[in-house]
């Protein structure tokens, strides 16, 4: 066990924002959050914890810090909520800064620890309550707040302008036609079966993934559409910053857009937190128990396309591959089995991680942690040496990451701990690596 002071990190979202706080404002805000927004659930969890510390070994941050006790899940609650209760909400601005750091940076809300707690206490929920309080007080890491601001203005997380979105789809359609001549990205097609939604990094920095989707849809012969309006981004960082009003607003528009287009389901690209937002956390922020429109994650979608024969696998990827289980689709929704099927169908040398499935460790980027931006990158990488060890133990050269946060987070991790390893989305195996059959008659120049 090791104890080291937290490294100094400058983040104006925390450092500057607390200057505007007074103890009275803090107390009033916390009281409101605890009394008006948190019910029996919070009280039961707080009263049930016996401080046994079993959750400590579950947290990648604690393990990666050589079991430094301050990174134990129970300690994160003790240093935030327990302290707040003890002091009857009379806490200082400096305290709020530390609480924000613990809740936003030192916990990614991955929910692994609740599986190791004998009582199943949902520590991620408790730290989400802390995030909510911080958000109400405006003490949020600057880049995460900026992402939330983008969501609140543009309904996407990267300030993508409306014309940039449509324009990108139009040129990605042209790119897709270089692979499959009939490929289209049908915009605003009312009555299509499927609305395909993605997260903003796709049009902004990974546009080829949109072309890949168009290729897959064309080969599978599906009736699909994408909106040419706001509501196309299924991501939701407001859910993680604690701005539940913006979170609800986003989820409402995402589903409203699908209903306006009269589709029967939403298929979403390879992203985990977006699934949590669209399927099980987001709807609650607008008073709904279920998503208004059924949502299918890319893992389920590809699985269904292959098992139904709509797409055929004609080649296996040769290099040794391992796979990251995105917390929100695997621990949160049990898609680990289908993910393994895909890996085995697509890869000649699939080497599973250990531990795996719902026991796999978080990538360390999810839960809004990577959105806290450059000031915290080093911190995030140090806090997930565990993942680097896991990847190295497989000997894999490629890590498949069916989630944008996992993809970017693991990219940083392998740079540090597993150089020479690369990350890939499943759609890249299907299309770019040629695992999926493109029938001759669909190829440009083919009959």
């Amino acid at each position: 066990m090791k104890y080291e002071p937290r490294p100094e990190v400058k983040d104006d979202g925390l450092d500057e924002s607390i200057k505007k706080l007074t103890p009275e404002k803090i107390k009033e805000t916390i009281r409101f959050a605890l009394d008006k927004e948190c019910g029996a659930r919070l009280k039961v969890y707080m009263d049930t914890c016996v401080h046994c510390g079993l959750c400590a070994t579950a947290c990648h941050q604690c393990i990666s810090h050589d079991m430094d006790p301050k990174y134990a899940p129970v300690a994160k609650v003790k240093d935030t909520l327990v302290e707040i209760f003890k002091k009857d909400c009379k806490v200082s601005p400096e305290f709020m800064k530390l609480a924000a750091r613990i809740a936003y940076i030192e916990c990614g809300g991955c929910r692994r620890c609740s599986m190791y707690c004998p009582f199943g206490i949902d520590i991620a929920y408790l730290l989400m309550v802390v995030r909510r309080i911080c958000s109400m007080l405006g003490v949020v890491p600057m880049y995460l707040q900026d992402t939330t601001n983008s969501h609140s203005v543009t309904y996407n997380q990267m300030w993508v302008q409306q014309d940039e979105w449509i324009d990108t789809l139009q040129w990605q359609e042209e790119d897709a036609q270089k692979v499959v001549k009939t490929a289209r990205i049908p915009l605003e097609k009312e009555g299509a079966d499927i609305m395909y939604s993605v997260i903003a990094p796709e049009p902004k920095i990974l546009a080829q993934l949109l072309a890949n989707a168009a290729v897959i849809f064309a080969v599978a012969g599906l009736d699909w559409t994408m909106p040419a309006t706001d509501g196309w981004d299924n991501s939701n960082m407001a859910m993680y910053s604690g701005d539940f009003e913006s979170s609800g607003r986003l989820e409402r528009l995402h589903h409203e857009t699908a209903m306006r287009l009269k589709v029967k389901k939403i298929v979403m690209g390879e992203c985990g937190h977006a699934f949590r937002g669209a399927v099980y956390d987001g709807p609650r922020h607008i008073g709904q128990a279920y998503p208004a429109v059924p949502v299918i994650h890319a893992i389920e979608f590809y699985h269904d396309l292959i098992t139904s024969g709509k797409i055929k696998i004609v080649k296996k990827f040769k290099k040794p591959v391992t796979v990251q289980d995105p917390c929100n689709t695997v621990r949160g929704r049990g898609l680990g089995g289908k993910l393994r099927d895909l890996m085995n169908w697509l890869c000649e040398d699939f080497r599973d991680m250990n531990p795996r499935f719902e026991h796999n460790y978080c990538c360390g980027a999810g839960g809004g942690v990577i959105n806290c931006g450059p000031p915290w990158t080093r911190n995030r990488v140090v806090a997930n040496r565990t993942k680097g060890d896991q990847i190295n133990a497989t000997g894999a050269e490629v890590v498949v990451t069916p989630c944008h946060n996992c993809h970017s987070g693991i990219e940083d991790i392998i740079k540090e701990y597993a150089p020479g390893t690369h990350v890939k989305f499943i759609s890249e195996l299907l299309v770019d690596e040629g695992c999926m059959e493109i029938p001759e008659h669909l190829r440009p120049g083919g009959d």
Binding site: D163, D230, E245, Y290, A292
Partner: protein, 420 residues
Amino acid sequence: MPDYKDWNWEPDKKIIADVADIGNKYSEVHEFVVSGDGEKIAVPVKTGDGEFTACVNGELWDARFERLWYPRFGPDARLAALVMSDDEWTVGVDGSVWDEKFEYVWNTQFSADGGRIGVQTKKNFQYSVCIDGKPWENTYLSIREFQMSRDGATVAVLAQLEELSEADVFTFLDGTWGVVVDDKPWDDKYMNTWGVTLSDDGRHVGLQVRVDNMKYGIVADGKLWPEIFAHVWEPGFRPGTGSLLAPVKTAGGFALYEDGSPIWDSRFMQIWKLVFSPDANRVCAVVCPEFGRTTVAVDDRAWDITFADVVRDQVFSPDSARVAAITKDNNRWSICVDGKPWPVDFDMVWKPAFSHDGSSVVAKGEQDGKYFVAVDGRVWNQPFEMLWEPIMSPDGAKVLLRYVEGGKYCRRVMPLNEIK
């Protein structure tokens, strides 16, 4: 002003275009759209390498474009499409192209009579709008919503009025977004602005704003309502008046306010999507009486029946007496009228319409990939390959059907009582 009373309401069936033939003729045929009166069907088609145009009732526009998309018929049945040539975008209307060109144009809007057509524009990385080919003089950092008054004389947009550098969360808090009406920005700026709406005559402007991290408000004609709320949703003007209504979240739950004061006694977990009766005296909204249940409330009274998934697209009867809405429960779509659900459900259902006397409700439904017309909960046993929403005749005795059957697009007016 086009009046649907002037449409041809003689019971008759007319084949307008051979859709199957259009499909065979061109290497790419995109999505079909039809005019309100059913007399025209249009689709973007590829006529050559990198060459597109609009095909209307089987006839091509003369001009060819590198791209043509988003064809939309206005209420006067003119066709407007977004077109690109030499990397410049503009709008083509019935085959003629606006002189003014842009880096991008999108989000076509029509005035109620179709006489005015507007789009959002981008030029030199600045944003604006262009109405009938005449661009506004000013440009803005960004524009996200764009509303035209019914008469088309007034245009309001939400625009970014202050520069915001990357991750500048403090300037954002001070307010960078505001309202621009007819190219004149309002003085006030807010953290967030949403749901700008205009009164029928365009003289009044309302919207939702976020004034602080946790504080939301409603702005009417530039003035913030005195009360601040925990949340707000889209406001709407009572037809023919300058009175603004909005769902607002108060300590007791969501309430319906008019001009800053509550008008409903009930409080709900959620209220949104206000719809006014034609006589402007009544208002209904989608409400959640409890977590996970949703229904319609009309004038402060929620229907007894509630639904788990969705309620949307409410519509009043022309006499303002009745309300119908789309519902979804257990992933099955249906229609509910005055709190009474239809006995049939569908894979998908479209917005219902009342007959003129309010006695009948008609809707388009989809089942197993075929489209059907349903009246008062009975499904007409006549499947269509394609079908647009049925329109009731002014006398309520007939219905206009626009559909594709056997590869042909048809316009048919038939007596309502023949749909069985």
